[in-house]
C-alpha cells in the first residue's frame, strides 16, 4: 500500500513540475511577447494611468491628475472650471484618446518629451512614478471667466483677447462648451455615453476648439484686408473720393451686390474712403477688389497669415482666400468677406492685432512656460514676429479709419469714455437660405497706444441681433483689460 502511495506522490509531484514549467514559460520566457500582445492593455493602462503634469492659469491648476480610487488606472485627470477651458485643455481619456493641449502637449504633460530625458532616467533609479511637466498658459483667468459669462447660453459665441505686442492670448472663450470631466471618466460605457451626448449639441465637438477650428464667412471685417491692399497699391488714400452706388451689377452674373438698406451708405452716391470704411459700404470695396485684382487681395490676405498653417501650439485651421483663379463676380463677393472667403475667429483677431502693433503681426501663443517637476524651465516661447504685414504709416492710416468707425460709424456701440477704440464690424450672410448671419467685431485699444486686440463673433444669428452683442461686449472686455 505504501508503495502505491509513493507512486501517487511521484505522479502528484510530476503534475506540479508541469505547473512550474508552464508558469516559468509564461512568467519568465515569454513575458516580452505576452506584454507586447495587442490584446494586452496593461501597458496602455500603465501609461494612461500615470500622473500627468498640471495645466495652470495664473498659477492655479485647471487640469491635474489625482490618485484614482476604485479604478484600474492609478490616476484620474480632473478639470477645474472645466466648461471655461474645455476647448483649450481638451480632455484626456483613458478610453478614447485626447484633444486640445492634452493632446498637443502630450509629450510634456506625460513626461515623455526629449527635454525630460534626464528626469526619466532619474525616475528609473529612484523608483518615483514619473511626473509630467507643468504647463502655464498665457490666459488670464479672471478675464476668461468674465468673457465666458458674457456669452449667452444657447448662442455660438467667441471672445478673443490678445496682447498685440507679444501675441499672448489672454482670453479665448467660446460657447457652446462642455464639462471635460465627463470624458475623463475611467469607464468605457460612461465615456461613450457622455461623448454621444456632447456631440449631439450643435456646433460642439470635444475634439477641437471653435475659434481656431471653424472657418466661417468674415463679412466686412475682411475689408481690413481690402484696405491694406488698397493703401499699399498707392491708388487710394483715406481721403480718396470713391463712387458709392446703392448696388452694382456683378459681371457675367444676374446677381446684384448691394449696400445694406439699414446703414447710412445709401445717403451718399460718392464719398471719401474713410467715410466708406466707417459705414462699411459694400459696393466701393467690391469695385476696388475687382480693380486691384485677385492677386493683390491674395497677397494682402496671406501677409495676415491666410492660407498658412499655425500652431499656438493648438493647431489652427488656415483661413482661406482663394489661390486658384476665380471670376470677377466671386472676387467682388470675396472682397466683402463672403463667397470663397473663410476665416477663423483667431485670424480676424490677428488682422486687428497686426494693425494695432504698427503693422507687425506677432505669433499668437497660448503657452507661457513649461516647467519640469523640479520647476526648471523646459520651454518658454518668447514673443515671435510672424510677419511684417505693413509699414507703421499704413497701420496708422488704417487705425485712424477704425477709430472713425467707432466714433461715427458702424462700431459706435464700442465707444469708450476712457480711451479711443479702433474697430471694424462685420455681418456675413451664411447663405444657407435661412437668412442667418455671422456677426463680427474686431479691433483694439487704446488707439494711441494699442495694447490689446479684441474680437467678438456670434455665428448663425438672426439678423439685427448681433450688433447689440458684439460692440458692447468688445467694449466691456477692453474696459476690463486696459488699466486706468
Amino acid at each position: 500500500m505504501n508503495h502505491a502511495i509513493r507512486h501517487i506522490w511521484i505522479v502528484s509531484v510530476t503534475l506540479f513540475v508541469a505547473l512550474f514549467a508552464a508558469l516559468s514559460l509564461i512568467q519568465v520566457v515569454l513575458t516580452d511577447e505576452l506584454n507586447a500582445n495587442q490584446k494586452n492593455s496593461r501597458q496602455i493602462i500603465a501609461t494612461a494611468g500615470s500622473p500627468r503634469g498640471p495645466i495652470t492659469v495664473d498659477g492655479e491648476a485647471i487640469a491635474l491628475s489625482v490618485p484614482a480610487e476604485n479604478s484600474p488606472y492609478d490616476y484620474q485627470r480632473v478639470y477645474r472650471d472645466a466648461e471655461l477651458y474645455s476647448g483649450i485643455t481638451g480632455f484626456y481619456s483613458t478610453e478614447g484618446g485626447s484633444s486640445g493641449l492634452e493632446s498637443a502637449l502630450n509629450d510634456y504633460l506625460s513626461g515623455q518629451s526629449d527635454s525630460q530625458f534626464f528626469d526619466r532616467i532619474s525616475a528609473l533609479f529612484t523608483g518615483d512614478s514619473m511626473q509630467g511637466a507643468q504647463v502655464e498658459l498665457t490666459l488670464n483667468g479672471q478675464w476668461q471667466r468674465m468673457a465666458f459669462d458674457m456669452i449667452p447660453d444657447g448662442l455660438r459665441g467667441t471672445i478673443i483677447v490678445t496682447d498685440l505686442t507679444t501675441g499672448d492670448i489672454k482670453v479665448m472663450a467660446s460657447r457652446p462648451s462642455y464639462d471635460t470631466n465627463e470624458l475623463a471618466v475611467h469607464s468605457r460605457d460612461a465615456y461613450l455615453q457622455n461623448l454621444e451626448r456632447i456631440e449631439a449639441t450643435p456646433g460642439l465637438t470635444p475634439h477641437s476648439l471653435g475659434p481656431i477650428r471653424n472657418r466661417i464667412a468674415p463679412g466686412s471685417t475682411f475689408k481690413l484686408v481690402d484696405t491694406l491692399a488698397m493703401l499699399e497699391s498707392g491708388d487710394y488714400d483715406p481721403d480718396t473720393e470713391l463712387e458709392n452706388p446703392p448696388s452694382i451689377q456683378l459681371p457675367q452674373s444676374v446677381n446684384e451686390l448691394e449696400n445694406l438698406e439699414t446703414g447710412n451708405c445709401y445717403q451718399r452716391q460718392e464719398a471719401e474712403f474713410r467715410w466708406i470704411f466707417a459705414q462699411s459700404c459694400n459696393t466701393p470695396f467690391a469695385e476696388a477688389g475687382m480693380d486691384l485684382g485677385q492677386q493683390a487681395l491674395l497677397e494682402a490676405a496671406e501677409s495676415f497669415w491666410f492660407n498658412q498653417e499655425l500652431t499656438i501650439p493648438l493647431y489652427v485651421t488656415p483661413s482661406h482666400f482663394p489661390e486658384e483663379e476665380i471670376s470677377d463676380a466671386a472676387l467682388a463677393l470675396s472682397a466683402i468677406g463672403q463667397q470663397d472667403v473663410g476665416a477663423t475667429a483667431l485670424q480676424i483677431n490677428m488682422l486687428a492685432a497686426a494693425i494695432g502693433n504698427e503693422g507687425t503681426l506677432m505669433r499668437p501663443q497660448l503657452v507661457d512656460t513649461i516647467r519640469g517637476t523640479d520647476l526648471q524651465v523646459l520651454s518658454q516661447p518668447s514673443p515671435e514676429v510672424l510677419n511684417e504685414v505693413m509699414s507703421p504709416d499704413v497701420a496708422a492710416e488704417i487705425t485712424e479709419m477704425m477709430v472713425e468707425t467707432v466714433e461715427s460709424g458702424t462700431g459706435w456701440r464700442a465707444q469708450s469714455s476712457r480711451f479711443d477704440v479702433a474697430a471694424k464690424t462685420g455681418t456675413a450672410e451664411i447663405g444657407d437660405g435661412e437668412g442667418l448671419v455671422n456677426s463680427w467685431i474686431t479691433g483694439f485699444a487704446p488707439a494711441d497706444n494699442p495694447q490689446y486686440a479684441v474680437t467678438v463673433v456670434y455665428e448663425r444669428l438672426e439678423p439685427g441681433v448681433g450688433n447689440e452683442l458684439t460692440g458692447p461686449q468688445m467694449l466691456a472686455m477692453l474696459e476690463a483689460v486696459i488699466g486706468e
Binding site: N2, H3, F16, L19, L23, L34, N35, N40
Partner: protein
C-alpha cells in the same frame, strides 16, 4: 522501549513555524495596507489579532488533543489562508470587489472552529469507517441538492450552489470529504475480496464485476450529477480521487487502466453531451484566436487576461497593490492564482506552489505513517483531492489543461471550499497523530470501542500485497525510531 525512543510530539516546532506563518500572512496584510491605504488603521491590527488568535488556539487544541500530529500542516495552511485574505483584501481596493476580505476572515474563523470541533469530538479517524455507507448517501444528497428546484442556483454556468435566504453554499465541496470517506471505507472493507477474486488477462488481473459495482455506481452518480451541473472541475477531481484510492487499495496497475478508461470515457461523454465542456476545449486550444477571445459568453477573455497578468508580474512581480489583477474576471476567487502571479511574481507564486507541494506531501506522509488501511486510503484520498484542486486551477490558468472553475484551496474567496479544506486538515491531523503516537500495548486501545476494530491485529494491519514483508518491517523500524521519512 525507553522514553527516548518515543516519538516526539514536535509541537514546539509547530509553534515556531506558526509564528513564522503569522509573520508572513499579517506582513502581507500590512504591505497591502501600506501600499493602498493611507495608514494602518485599527481594523488591520484587529484582523491580524483574530488570525493569530485562531491559529494559536488551534495549536493549543493540538497540544491537548493530538499532540503527535504533523507539525508542518497547520503552519503551511495558516500561511496560505493568510495570504489569501491579504490578496482578497488588496482586491477589495479595486472597483470590482468590496468587503470580501472581512467575509473571508469570518469564514476562516468559522472553518477553523469547525475543524477544531471535529478534531475534539472525533478523537480517532477510524470511527469514520462506520460511516462508510452513510457517507455515500450523504455524498449523493449533497451533490443532488443544487439541482433541487427552489434551492439550487445557477452561477457562471455551473449549477453548484444552494441558497437558503441570503446564504449560499456549495455542497459539492463537502461531498469531496464524504466521498473520500466512502471510497476509503468501502475499499478498506473489501480490498481482500477484490484482490483475491479476479480474472487474469495477460499480465493484469481484473476484478470481478460485482466487486466493482458499488464503486461503479458511486462513480456514475458523481458523473451524472456533474454533467447535469456543468461542473467539470469537480468531475475531474472525483475521477482522480476514485482512481487514486483504488490504486492505493489494490496496488494494481489494472486499476489505473480501468480508471484511465473511465476517465477517457467520461471526457468523451462530456465533450459529446455538454456544450460547456466543448467550449472549454476550444478555449484551451485557441485561446488567442480573435473570434474566441471576443466572444461575449464562454470566450477566452478571462484566460488570456489571466496569462497577461502572470506575464505582467514576471519573475519578481509588481508588488502587492501595484498590479492590475482586477482586469481579470473573478480575480479573487477562480483567478486568484493569476492575481498572486502578477503581484508576487514567479518567485512568490512558485513559493506558494511549493507550500502546496509540501502540504500534500505531509498528507501522504500521514497516509504512509498510519497503520490502518482505512486511514491510509482516507489520507491519500484527501491528499489527492488537494493535489487535483491545485492542479486543475493552476493548470487551467496556465493552459496546461482546459480551464474549469475550481476554488484554489485556502486562497480563493468562498466559504464552502474554505470550510471543506479546513475539515480535511482536521482529519489529516488526526490521522497523522494516530500515525506517530506511540503504540499503547495492552488493553487500552483494543477495548476502547468499535473504532479499534481489528486494527491492532498484526495480520490485518500489515500489507498483504507483494511488498508486504519488507514494508511492514520498515514501518516497524520507523515507528521505534520515531523518525520522519
Amino acid at each position: 522501549m525507553n522514553a527516548a525512543d518515543h516519538p516526539k510530539p514536535r509541537r514546539n516546532v509547530e509553534l515556531v513555524l506558526l509564528l513564522l506563518a503569522l509573520l508572513i500572512s499579517i506582513g502581507a496584510q500590512v504591505l497591502v495596507g501600506l501600499a493602498l491605504d493611507d495608514e494602518l488603521t485599527t481594523p488591520y491590527w484587529v484582523e491580524g489579532s483574530i488570525l493569530a488568535a485562531l491559529a494559536l488556539g488551534f495549536h493549543v487544541v493540538l497540544r491537548i488533543r493530538a499532540k503527535y500530529a504533523d507539525p508542518f500542516i497547520l503552519p503551511i495552511v495558516v500561511t496560505l489562508n493568510g495570504l489569501g485574505i491579504a490578496m482578497i483584501h488588496r482586491l477589495d481596493f479595486t472597483a470590482a470587489f468590496d468587503g470580501v476580505a472581512d467575509r473571508q476572515l469570518m469564514w476562516t474563523g468559522v472553518s477553523m472552529v469547525a475543524a477544531v470541533v471535529l478534531l475534539w469530538w472525533l478523537k480517532d479517524h477510524r470511527k469514520l469507517r462506520q460511516l462508510t455507507y452513510i457517507s455515500l448517501a450523504a455524498s449523493i444528497v449533497l451533490l443532488l441538492l443544487p439541482i433541487v428546484p427552489g434551492l439550487g442556483q445557477d452561477m457562471y454556468g455551473a449549477q453548484v450552489w444552494v441558497s437558503i435566504g441570503a446564504m449560499s453554499f456549495q455542497p459539492g465541496e463537502i461531498a469531496k470529504i464524504t466521498l473520500a470517506i466512502f471510497f476509503a471505507g468501502f475499499l478498506a472493507n473489501n480490498r481482500d475480496l477484490i484482490l483475491l477474486a479476479g480474472r487474469k488477462i495477460g499480465p493484469m488481473t481484473f476484478p470481478r464485476a460485482r466487486d466493482l459495482a458499488p464503486l461503479f455506481i458511486a462513480w456514475l452518480v458523481a458523473l451524472g450529477v456533474l454533467i447535469i451541473q456543468n461542473d467539470l472541475g469537480n468531475a475531474l477531481m472525483f475521477f482522480g480521487l476514485f482512481v487514486a484510492v483504488i490504486y492505493v487499495a489494490t496496488s494494481r496497475i489494472s486499476w489505473i487502466a480501468i480508471g484511465g478508461a473511465f476517465i477517457a470515457l467520461g471526457a468523451v461523454l462530456a465533450y459529446q453531451m455538454v456544450p460547456h465542456a466543448r467550449q472549454r476545449f476550444e478555449i484551451w486550444f485557441n485561446a488567442f484566436d480573435d473570434e474566441i477571445y471576443n466572444r461575449e459568453f464562454g470566450g477566452s477573455h478571462q484566460l488570456v487576461q489571466g496569462i497577461f497578468g502572470l506575464a505582467h508580474g514576471g519573475l519578481t512581480g509588481t508588488g502587492l497593490g501595484n498590479g492590475n489583477p482586477s482586469m481579470v474576471a473573478l480575480a479573487n476567487s477562480d483567478m486568484i492564482i493569476a492575481a498572486f502571479g502578477e503581484e508576487l511574481g514567479f518567485i512568490g507564486l512558485g513559493a506558494m506552489l511549493l507550500l502546496f507541494l509540501m502540504l500534500f506531501s505531509r498528507y501522504m506522509r500521514a497516509a504512509i505513517g498510519t497503520r490502518d488501511h482505512f486511514g491510509k486510503l482516507l489520507a491519500t484520498g484527501l491528499a489527492v483531492v488537494l493535489v487535483l484542486q491545485v492542479f486543475v486551477v493552476v493548470g487551467g490558468i496556465t493552459r496546461v489543461i482546459p480551464m474549469t472553475g475550481l476554488a484554489t484551496p485556502f486562497l480563493a474567496a468562498g466559504g464552502s471550499a474554505l470550510l471543506a479544506n479546513w475539515l480535511i486538515v482536521a482529519l489529516v491531523l488526526l490521522i497523522s497523530h494516530n500515525a506517530r503516537r506511540p503504540i499503547v500495548v495492552g488493553p487500552m486501545v483494543n477495548t476502547s470501542g468499535e473504532g479499534a476494530t481489528g486494527i491492532e491485529d498484526p495480520l490485518r494491519g500489515s500489507d498483504t500485497g507483494q511488498h508486504a514483508p519488507a514494508e511492514s518491517r520498515a514501518e516497524t523500524r520507523e515507528h521505534f525510531l520515531g523518525g520522519e521519512r
